[in-house]
């Protein structure tokens, strides 16, 4: 699990960067550039969106990630025009859109509830935006057929949405959103109503689709795994503000604060005191007295800090080594390809450890003593 994830995380960042900087020229970018400037939306005293700034490149796949109530859906609704801004502005290709009603913005949109028109067939649903735009019948039929082909729905063209499975319905909804080849596609938690297996396959489908159509995609989710898998960049939102924006790898490895560290991926947050600092390496000591090195880009050199150690970066051994510290196993679960171990350090801190299953390592028992260690490159000092 850990490795494929890392691979996949690595792919979008690298792949799309290459195509955008002109390396692979087969991808045609038709997407708009979107700029959100000091956007604000209030409900009474509550700031749903609190002075957000966000620049989205043409053709970029950007994910708004955050817990419920963080303002991500509100921001999407502001972009779609379902709600109006209380302050700031939104520019699409340099032009402000606050006076443009939803139906004239020309965006495609996919909803969590699918929102397929139950009184129309699949074909009629997908044709709806074309009819509204005044595209003639012959072109409409051709475009609908093409789009259904892309979404592998050709066999279902004359079905009613209620006769289809959730996954198929969501593919129809996606077909309806892209049939106009819109410059911007907004996706509001489109996969959260689907089961896990289906979700993963549609994730890849959307990812590939993004490569094909070249639209700018704004994707809202509360699922960090989904965000890591699909995005060019992720904007992590909390309490109406963007707390960090960056490529998936960056967000995962170098979160800007505790919130991002704990929201994206599993994490061990270890309180430690700075002993000394040499260049970018600091020597730290935690409550249990374990002394370890960590890399830090920041200028802090004294006091207490929080260190992030991802569970898969912790090495375990049965015998003590020079740099290890002893822990007591409190739970050990075999999850398939990995072992998930919870252990207590002598100072009381709980550590979460994930390691791949190998023949040499038996599943530890509760109460076993293990020796854990991590290197300076495995830690990230949070401010």
């Amino acid at each position: 699990m850990a490795e494929p994830l890392a691979l996949r995380v690595g792919y979008p960042g690298a792949g799309v960067r290459a195509s955008q900087s002109g390396g692979a020229s087969e991808r045609q970018v038709i997407g708009s550039r979107i700029a959100v400037r000091d956007a604000e939306k209030r409900y009474g005293q509550f700031h749903a969106v609190n002075r957000i700034n966000l620049d989205i490149e043409p053709g970029e796949f950007i994910t708004l990630l955050g817990p419920s109530g963080s303002g991500k859906t509100t921001l999407l609704n502001l972009l779609a025009g379902f709600q109006s801004l209380d302050g700031g502005e939104i520019l699409v290709d340099g032009r402000p859109v606050h006076n443009v009603p939803t139906h004239k913005r020309g965006f495609g949109m996919v909803f969590q509830s699918y929102a397929l028109f139950p009184n129309m067939t699949v074909t009629q649903n997908v044709a709806f935006p074309l009819r509204m735009a005044g595209v003639d019948r012959a072109t409409t039929e051709r475009r609908v057929a093409e789009t259904l082909e892309i979404m592998r729905l050709s066999d279902h063209a004359n079905k009613s949405p209620s006769e289809m499975s959730g996954g198929q319905q969501q593919r129809v909804a996606i077909a309806r959103a892209i049939v106009m080849r819109p410059k911007v596609v907004l996706m509001d938690e489109p996969l959260s109503a689907l089961d896990r297996r289906l979700r993963e396959s549609i994730q890849i489908e959307i990812r590939d689709l993004h490569q094909t159509i070249g639209s700018t995609i704004l994707f809202v989710t509360h699922d960090q795994g989904e965000a890591l898998t699909m995005s060019d960049r992720i904007a992590v939102l909390d309490a109406g503000k963007i707390v960090q924006i960056g490529r998936p790898l960056e967000i995962y490895r170098h979160p800007s604060n505790r919130f991002v560290a704990s929201f994206v991926g599993e994490s061990n947050l270890i309180e430690a005191e700075i002993m000394q600092k040499r260049g970018t390496t600091v020597t730290l000591k935690n409550r249990a007295g374990y002394v370890f090195d960590a890399e830090s880009r920041d200028a802090i050199d004294v006091g207490r800090v929080t260190v992030l150690v991802r569970p898969e970066r912790i090495a375990i051994a049965n015998e003590p080594t020079a740099s290890s510290t002893p822990v007591t196993v409190t739970s050990a679960i075999f999850l398939g390809e990995i072992l998930r171990i919870e252990a207590q350090m002598d100072g009381g801190d709980t550590l979460l450890i994930r390691c791949t299953d190998t023949a040499r390592r038996p599943l530890p028992d509760v109460g076993d003593r293990l020796h854990v260690s991590w290197g300076p490159e495995d830690c990230w000092v949070l401010t």
Partner: protein, 597 residues
């Protein structure tokens, strides 16, 4: 030991299986079904029997269709009912949308403005219109003051007033029916249509309207069916040329000679009602009567049908759509979104004013110091309240009504609760038929019911008895109780009951400790509405009461026809207060039962 236990066992099993049978909640349906069979079905059957008891079975019916007076009145009734249903639809749909689109306190206020009149007696609401449109009423005063009229004119007693009055009385029914259909829509659909480039008009035409069509159909038919049996409003607001069919039945009821013919009139009205309901039920499912949803969703079939018929009629239909339909929709898309919003607000506002203003005017007039009806009142006093409370006739009528209503509510709630338990928890075939029987009194025109009961009451000497009237009122109270309590019971998770049973509670204990507390609010609401139904009932009372037994609505009816004075406004105000109080108490229940149905 073993032999004993062996011999014990079969007997134990037999008794337990009998006990099991007796414990089947479906048995709880029996009292209500028996009650309705005796006091509701039997008289209706008897009504039909008398109507065909002439020399030939067709004799009386031939007279109904041969005499122009009745035939024309039947046509007129249809015309008026269709017009009223259309007017209700025209104004009701935007109002339902308005409730759906507003939020918070505004929504609560608009919803109250619709629901409140729904529970106020038709008699009182009609009286309010008479006050409003009278020679000294506010409408005349206003028109004179702004110079449109030079002197007050007669605004009452013609076709327009009948249509206005009936539309106002039946609007809440339409709004509530459509609203329940609109509120079930996924709000994402509107957004999806907008995001697909559809303007507000196109969203309405292509998405909102097709999807709420069943609600529109249900509302239209419910209003139509109610309108063809209407009697109070056209009698009070109409002129000589606005005689509706139900009015003939009450007029004929006074003359003894018309036995048989009278019943034939009733049967004609009943058959038309049943025919309309049957046709509607064919398309909407008969659940529309009590606001339920059709159990088998047929949208799938419809869409598939649309697709196949689409290919058949492609050439003409699609050419028409391409040439006119879609471009027109796109053209309307140019309209600013505020157009639709303002249409909805304006029409919704008109409806709210139409429903609330008469009530407010009547409440103000009840405090008038003038000795006749005039608005605005020259001064304020409590003289009419003093007169009401010191008049022994009014007070006796009030207490009689309260007593009858209490007994009636007791009957309706007792039978209705058992029936609801049986319907929801029981395991019995033909549930929908039984539910239909229990709820059908809603759609039978009260005039027909009153007529049929009169014969039964004569036979058993129940005319003018408190118990008889209470039982008659309970016919209409029962459906209210069954609908509210079925919804409440469906809201109770049956796993809660199972959990209690697993932990050792007997079925009666489960009922007492789990089920009843869970539906207690629903029970309170049902009791209140059953009480109110009887308290307001006039039409059945007209048939079944005697000179010695006068109820409050009967006194009101007599006074309205005799002289319009502010005492009636006092009674109306007290009724409004009663309803407001009851609705306030029932508020949480209404919210949940709305969700459950």
């Amino acid at each position: 030991m073993t032999t004993i236990s062996l011999s014990e066992e079969p007997r134990h099993q037999a008794s337990s299986s009998l006990a099991m049978k007796l414990k089947n909640p479906a048995l709880l349906l029996l009292p209500a079904v028996a009650f309705l069979s005796f006091i509701y079905l039997l008289p209706l059957v008897d009504l039909i029997r008398i109507s065909i008891s002439g020399p030939s079975w067709l004799t009386y019916f031939q007279r109904v269709f041969a005499v122009p007076l009745y035939w024309e009145s039947l046509v007129r009734t249809m015309q008026i009912s269709v017009t009223v249903a259309f007017l209700c639809l025209l104004f009701g749909y935007p109002t339902a949308l308005l409730i759906h689109r507003t939020r918070g306190i505004t929504r609560a206020l608009i919803a109250t403005a619709i629901v409140l009149p729904y529970f106020i007696a038709i008699l009182i609401r009609t009286y309010a219109w008479m006050v409003l449109l009278g020679r000294n009423g506010p409408v005349n005063k206003f028109l004179v003051s702004i110079g449109i009229l030079s002197e007050p004119v007669q605004l009452l007693f013609h076709r327009g007033t009948v249509l206005l009055g009936m539309t106002a009385v039946l609007l809440p029914l339409m709004v509530l029916t459509i609203y329940s259909s609109v509120s079930r829509l996924d709000p994402g659909l509107t957004r999806a249509a907008l995001a697909s480039g559809a303007g507000p008009i196109a969203v309405f035409w292509r998405v909102l309207l097709p999807l709420t069509l069943p609600g529109i159909g249900a509302g239209f038919l419910l209003v139509f069916v109610a309108a063809i049996g209407f009697f109070i409003t056209p009698t009070l607001l109409g002129g000589p040329g606005d005689q509706m069919f139900a009015m003939h039945i009450t007029q004929q009821a006074d003359s003894v000679t018309s036995e048989g013919f009278l019943q034939a009139l009733g049967v004609v009205l009943l058959l038309i009602t049943l025919l309309v309901v049957a046709i509607a039920g064919r398309f909407l499912g008969l659940e529309f009567i009590w606001g339920g949803r059709k159990l088998t969703e047929t949208t799938a079939g419809k869409a598939a049908l649309a697709a196949t018929s689409g290919t058949a009629r492609r050439s003409f239909g699609s050419a028409f759509a391409d040439a006119i339909g879609w471009p027109l929709l796109r053209l309307f898309g140019m309209l600013p979104a505020s157009c639709g919003t303002w249409t909805v607000r304006l029409m919704g506002g008109v409806v709210v004013a139409l429903l609330i203003l008469p009530i407010i005017v009547v409440m103000i007039i009840s405090f008038s110091s003038a000795s006749y009806l005039t608005f605005p009142p020259p001064g304020f006093s409590l003289r009419w309240y003093e007169q009401f409370f010191s008049d022994t006739n009014w007070m006796r009528a009030f207490w009689t009504s309260a007593l009858i209503a209490a007994v009636s509510a007791f009957i309706a709630v007792g039978l209705g609760t058992c029936a609801a338990l049986g319907i929801v928890r029981g395991n019995v075939r033909g549930k929908s038929v039984i539910m239909l029987l229990l709820v059908s009194p809603i759609i039978v025109p009260p005039v027909v019911l009153g007529l049929s009961l009169y014969t039964l009451f004569l036979k058993f000497d129940l005319v003018g008895s408190v118990f008889g009237l209470a039982a008659a009122h309970a016919i209409g109270g029962l459906p209210i109780v069954v609908v509210i309590l079925s919804a409440a019971l469906q809201g109770v998770d049956s796993r809660l009951e199972q959990a209690a049973a697993v932990h050792g509670a007997s079925s009666l204990t489960v009922l007492r400790l789990v089920t009843l507390p869970a539906i207690a609010p629903g029970l309170a609401a049902a009791t209140f509405f059953a009480f109110l139904h009887s308290f307001d009932e006039l039409v059945l009372t007209l048939f079944l009461s005697s000179a010695q037994l006068k109820t409050l609505p009967l006194m009101l009816w007599g006074d309205i026809n005799y002289r319009l004075n502010p005492v009636l406004a006092v009674v109306s105000t007290l009724e409004v207060l009663l309803v407001v109080g009851g609705l306030f108490l029932a508020r949480p229940v209404l919210a949940t039962s709305q969700k459950a149905t």
